[in-house]
Symmetry: D2
């Protein structure tokens, strides 16, 4: 954890999100999740904000994690809503309202329909944005039409933070008004992502054209089947291990990459690191 935190902080990120989807939060035992929260807050020492994923099939356990996060000194919690039990719009809205009230920390919504099989509707986000303790949303639907309509729906609430999950969409989201991204690949090459963000935020289209295709290559090669398959975590964890971070193994239900998959990732990490170096002058120790 220390290594990863130092890696991304030195890459200039504006915050860290622990126990998200890429961090395998919902797959970790409750005890491990609590340790991870405590530990991250300790090594972070307030340098950038810490957001903590509390998504769980049990509402009670979600609230308990939020309390633990508050005690550990985290800055906010993030919930993708219920899973296993399906809910309609109305129940989802009341779920977030109650969670906002039960959580001692500010709450961010997390729209992650590929994992939760629940979509947070525009109307639900708009209602949530009226609640003081709900501060923003991370959208990982991959649907830019949704992002744009969300911006329109939230135009009266400019302080409600709108972040996107899929890094393929970072450039356009920031160019067209979102506040930023929370992207899995920034664990690998943080400067690539902070630079692309910067370029988009300042309207430097030339830099965007240089960096955006590298990010697309990260998705297409490291996450492999990417949005289009199952095991992006297996690729990402192995790539991280090549960069000196972590053991390379995703937890259950995932498995170690097979030999062919490892060779592909090794080549991709080498070639992408070179492109990052050529574009940004940053050396990645592969």
């Amino acid at each position: 954890v220390e290594l990863l935190v130092e890696h991304v902080v030195s890459g200039g990120v504006s915050g860290v999100f622990v126990l998200g989807t890429t961090g395998e939060g919902p797959a970790l035992p409750g005890r491990v999740r609590r340790e991870m929260i405590t530990h991250t807050c300790r090594v972070m020492t307030g340098r950038v904000p810490v957001l903590v994923g509390i998504t769980d099939s049990s509402y009670g356990d979600s609230v308990e994690l939020a309390r633990h996060a508050a005690e550990a000194g985290a800055d906010a919690v993030v919930s993708a809503g219920p899973m296993y039990y399906s809910v309609g719009d109305d129940l989802l809205c009341r779920y977030f309202e109650r969670l906002a009230s039960d959580s001692p920390l500010p709450l961010f919504l997390y729209n992650m329909p590929s994992c939760t099989h629940v979509s947070i509707s525009l109307a639900t986000v708009a209602r949530a944005a009226q609640i003081a303790n709900i501060r923003g949303i991370k959208d990982s639907s991959g649907d830019m039409g949704y992002v744009h309509q969300l911006r329109r729906a939230l135009c009266g609430r400019p302080s409600f933070t709108l972040l996107v999950g899929p890094e393929e969409l970072l450039a356009e989201s920031v160019l067209l008004g979102a506040h930023g991204g929370v992207n899995g690949g920034s664990n690998l090459w943080p400067q690539l992502y902070t630079s692309l963000y910067e370029a988009a935020a300042t309207g430097d289209l030339a830099a965007v054209s240089r960096l955006h295709p590298i990010v697309i290559e990260v998705c297409g090669r490291i996450f492999q089947s990417g949005t289009y398959g199952n095991h992006y975590l297996e690729g990402l964890k192995y790539a991280a291990s090549l960069l000196g971070i972590g053991s390379g193994v995703a937890g259950m239900p995932y498995e170690v990459l097979n030999e062919g998959g490892r060779a592909e990732i090794e080549r991709a990490v080498r070639e992408i690191s070179e492109k990052v170096h050529d574009a940004l002058g940053v050396t990645t120790p592969v």
Copy 2:
């Protein structure tokens, strides 16, 4: 819990399944789940087997629940596989293999695609049936074609138990060779379900024709939108409270039924109780 256990045991059930979908297992905090296991095993005193649901987004917490169930004296555990993180057939198969090996109690698979968004393929069940510690499957897919093909795929393993979840399918499943049902409505009128099972198992078509339509009415009226909607648990819990069991409230993410919904359930419970009385001579205290 005592009330419910006595109610169903006196109704002649062959086993109880705690912390399943209807028991809201995945929605309860880990601590409450452990208490529920201990308590159920204590009041059951070995009269019928106790199966314990251990489905959780965290593999580690599932294994921990299985260990707790073994210590409490339960007879088997039941897992619907991972949730949140999607898996293909291969990973799912390895998940169950490893769980069978890590669990001190025999394992039943639980095919519950409407909640887990994962379907356990025929091939995965056939492979699982080769593993000594995997004893059977509860299928809640609602797909009788799957049940029939499963029977064909398992024909060399008659001891591998095949149970169905949706009570609409209890009669035909047993008539055509499945071993039984694990049905939500048997918490309400257990004798209706044990009698329908008995009628189907002995080929008494006249009794099946009398009882099956009452079960269909339970699904259509108590579970309301039933398979076709969201909140069957809200209706079922309120119906149970009318029969003197429980508080009538489903936990988060669900809510209390509105007034119209309550009136509908009240009328349905009254009329179905009368039909159960007419058919079986059993009096239900409404």
Copy 3:
């Protein structure tokens, strides 16, 4: 066509359904569909009723096919509703109401969500059953819970015909009150299906237990991936050709089976024909 018609009529079927899903109706050019209707009605000479599939993405072309069917002397038309353009329940209901009024022949609904991606709700069927020119429904959803709830919803309209498409479900549907089946495999071994129907309709459970597993084997081996895959038509068409019916080729978008697939089908047809012979004394010329 003559060969197939004589084959199934001699097998004792109570009617024929041309241009359904197995008949590849929607995949045939309009001109060919009209010829097929005319030709079938001519060779049938009124021996059993002829139902004609008119499902098309164009409402106008559906109505035109219904008129052509009336002129050719068919007995009823069958529509699965619109495709390509998605509709909610309300629009679907009005679609069938208007089609019933524009069609010179009685209309049967066809619930085929795997192809049309529209489910006909219970409420829509119940409303349709009030319309004089709508006579019944063929349900191919594979969802027996739906079939049972449909029977309950239609209990005031016993003359509204309820037929099921998936042959895995024929036995239980008829045992529990549906009127019959319209099953793809009855093009291959019609006597197997008429005998199973007869057994179920008369409550002869011993005969059901003998014949039902053979039907399950047809689904599992001829339709191969069956409900669980894409190309059941390729297997079925090749099997038909082995029984002397048709060229063995499914039209676009399907293709000829590969060699391995052909060998599998050949063996399955031989072994199933033997089982049909042993069970019913019927010789199939393979």
Copy 4:
């Protein structure tokens, strides 16, 4: 048709696409589709290219429409692939290969999973791009990650045209390398769309920021439930009628908007026309 054609040509479009989804191609009888092709080519007199939608459940009828389009003088045909019968990647690929060979006109692929329920995979597009008679793709999946990966997969074939359907995505698609859009709303305010295209193509971010939100408003208010509902065609057709184009009625399976819906559209058309006027100096006759 004349009115609409003159309206969009005077708005500066680079081509017209008849019988697409918005043009209700698949819902029109074959005879009407042929007339529409002939008529459009006649009034267009070669001013801009005419692309013709030939998507149909019958492959034979699709080829026939392609031949008719060639005789009428159209420039290319567009196919979304089969519908009703589902296909995997392999069959889809062979479908387009054969269609490219049977069509006398160049073929564009049309990725429209919300209507066809088939997604054209990146690999299939990459293979199709090797075929001389396949010239490009219109992607209406709404998935910008797909668009970016497609660009990466096609980087060796810069002449293969990449167009996007959803207008919410026009700005970012063109900013990040796609060739343009084929957008339903350009039937209403063509200059808004051609100007936004121009702004994005020239990297004029200030103009993009001015025009993009108006397009988002068109989607959110005219298409109403937009991507998120059923009846965008009802809103669009009524809006067109307010601008003097067409009768305001979408064909079956759709219906006339109710009174509330009409009032909403009327207000939206008025307010958006004002914004278009303020931004571009273009007067829309409402």
